[in-house]
């Protein structure tokens, strides 16, 4: 039970933190450097990285672990609209797609989950990030009715978000190691 609470706290905190960084720091910078870019989608969407890494690490437990964080972000962005059916559907899509992709791949004989004696394959995780991004884009489009031109922007933002999150972890571990 304690482990569930800890997982939920850290996964949701990471999701809210990544969203804050994306919407409060990166998107204003994007608007400054690419003022003519028409889409409202972020080109560096860090929360996607949190979704994928949480699903890889926690499996189906990533769904309840991420749910509070995703709900908070949707509530902060959309206010009371968070309770609209399409928003609730989008929240469900955001938390379930990445674990579903990992389990589907496992069912197909390609188990990427961490296990003793197995070296993780970061390129495979990036691949799952790509598949998840496409699926989330298609499903979210069904819920929100975004234009298809946004798909490419979503894919770029999600993949760069996952990659930069992993670089962020790389530098964080380096700093921790140097201080240890």
């Amino acid at each position: 039970m304690r482990s569930w609470i800890t997982d939920t706290f850290f996964a949701s905190l990471a999701y809210v933190g990544a969203s804050f960084l994306t919407f409060s720091v990166l998107m204003p910078l994007q608007n400054v450097f690419f003022p003519e870019y028409p889409s409202r989608a972020s080109l560096l969407f860090l929360p996607h990285g949190v979704r994928v890494l949480a699903a890889w690490l926690l499996g189906w437990r990533a769904v309840p672990a991420l749910l509070p964080g995703v709900f908070i972000v949707f509530a902060l962005l959309g206010g009371a609209d968070v309770f609209l059916a399409n928003r609730l559907l989008a929240i469900a899509i955001a938390v379930t797609t990445a674990p579903a992709v990992f389990y589907l791949l496992k069912w197909a004989g390609w188990d990427l989950f961490p296990a003793p004696g197995r070296s993780p394959c970061w390129a495979c995780i990036m691949g799952v990030g790509g598949i998840t991004s496409v699926l989330v884009s298609i499903l979210t489009n069904m819920a929100f009715g975004s234009s298809t031109s946004e798909y490419v922007a979503f894919l770029i933002g999600d993949m760069s978000g996952l990659l930069f999150l992993m670089f962020g972890l790389y530098f964080a571990f380096r700093v921790i190691d140097r201080r240890a």
């Binding site: 890889w56 070296s119 993780p120 394959c121 992993m166 972890l169 571990f173 190691d177």
Partner: protein
Amino acid sequence: MTEISKLAELRKLVHSMERTLGLEELSPVERDIYYAAEELSKNGSEIRTYGLIEHTLVQNVSRPTFFRALKSLVQKGYLAHSGNANRGRYIVNAPR
């Protein structure tokens, strides 16, 4: 999976990225031995050479390469000889 092993798995994932992108400071064999040592070390307990050499990650490593890499890991501070007299025992350290 415990909190520490989740962190260890994240580190392994990042190390896998480092390896592919050529950012690492350890050789592939040293890295595998370090991963194996991390897994075998429970709550900071000692690990033994014979346990390490039988780990699945280092099964295909020749003995001379294994011992060279082990010595290198000690020199780089990733592993330390246990305080006991027996030199076949090590403690896993966080990298310097």
